[in-house]
């Protein structure tokens, strides 16, 4: 599996997949006019990870978004649905939702995502 990276822009996050450690990180702010520009490469990367993952592999997803707009929020839900489905099928996945102590909006979003997940390990991590 290859390491890949999408550079951050002023309004899209840096997305980095570290193949050596099976860590996917999404960091920055996300408010593009059209969310396809980040969701397409992200979902392609995830699909190819699961296609190649061996049973002992454990995927860690670190999400540290200080701000995201409503269409990015929809994209995140789609991402968690995808991961929830994989976790329910036995894939080992941990999501860390990382937020700053003074960012109550990010905290609230994390709590709301977590409420609807069952199979997926979803940690709220206060920085």
């Amino acid at each position: 599996m290859d390491t890949w990276k999408i550079e951050a822009t002023k309004y899209t996050p840096a997305i980095y997949f570290d193949a050596a450690n099976n860590v996917l990180s999404i960091k920055g702010e996300s408010y593009p006019e059209n969310v396809d520009q980040i969701s397409k490469p992200l979902f392609t990367g995830i699909t190819s990870y699961f296609a190649q993952a061996t049973p002992d592999q454990h995927l860690t997803v670190n999400i540290e978004l200080t701000y995201f707009n409503s269409s990015s929020s929809k994209m995140l839900l789609d991402l968690f649905d995808r991961l929830e489905e994989a976790a329910a099928q036995g894939e080992k996945i941990t999501v860390n939702w990382i937020y700053e102590a003074d960012n109550d909006t990010a905290e609230e979003f994390g709590v709301e995502f977590k409420e609807d997940l069952e199979a997926l390990t979803f940690n709220l991590v206060k920085n």
């Binding site: 408010y31 701000y67 409503s70």
Partner: protein
């Protein structure tokens, strides 16, 4: 116009308006305005939580103008980009920031919008949260260029019910204004 401009500025100041823009808007311009607003509010010593909420409301409202303004010019560029026109106002009144945006819309969408916004006005925070999560699970409506969640997100951030108005311009268009207080 020259002597009226100062009068205009005084009026803006009296209303607590510290940012005002009217004209064609693009994503790039939105990013720069957003940064400027964040710096300005930092200077005013607003809390980082408030700054983020105002910024978030500004982005949703400005992207609504970009996506849905009926006053659009198709650019002569290979990617068929458009410039959408509207008005964005950011001010401070009664201890709260507010964002006010306006743009032209087709008369035929007025009723649907009014119905949608009236419904949001009547919901409390808990109902808005439930409705937001419910809508987020659905496929975005066909008429939507985002996720169809923008108005709900605005209503959730707003400390008072969102305010809106429609003024008919002619047989084709109405002017739509929307105000969110944070």
């Amino acid at each position: 116009m020259l002597d009226n401009l100062y009068q205009f500025k005084k009026e803006l100041n009296q209303r607590g308006i510290f940012f005002c823009f009217s004209g064609p808007l693009s994503q790039e311009l939105l990013v720069e305005i957003g940064d400027t607003l964040r710096n300005q509010m930092k200077q005013e010593e607003a809390s980082s939580s408030t700054i983020l909420k105002v910024f978030s409301v500004f982005v949703e409202q400005a992207q609504n103008v970009i996506h849905y303004s009926a006053e659009k010019i198709l650019l002569d560029s290979p990617d068929k980009a458009t410039l959408s026109s509207g008005i964005i106002v950011v001010g401070y009144e009664g201890q709260h920031y507010y964002v006010l945006c306006g743009n032209l819309i087709d008369n035929e969408v007025v009723d649907t919008l009014r119905e949608q916004l009236t419904k949001l006005q009547q919901m409390n925070k808990e109902e808005l949260k439930r409705y937001y999560k419910e809508q987020r699970k659905k496929e975005a409506p066909e008429s939507s260029k985002g996720a169809g969640l923008g108005f709900i997100e605005l209503a959730r951030h707003s400390i008072t019910p969102i305010e809106f108005e429609f003024q008919q311009v002619d047989n084709n268009f109405s002017f739509f204004s929307l105000k969110t207080a944070i």
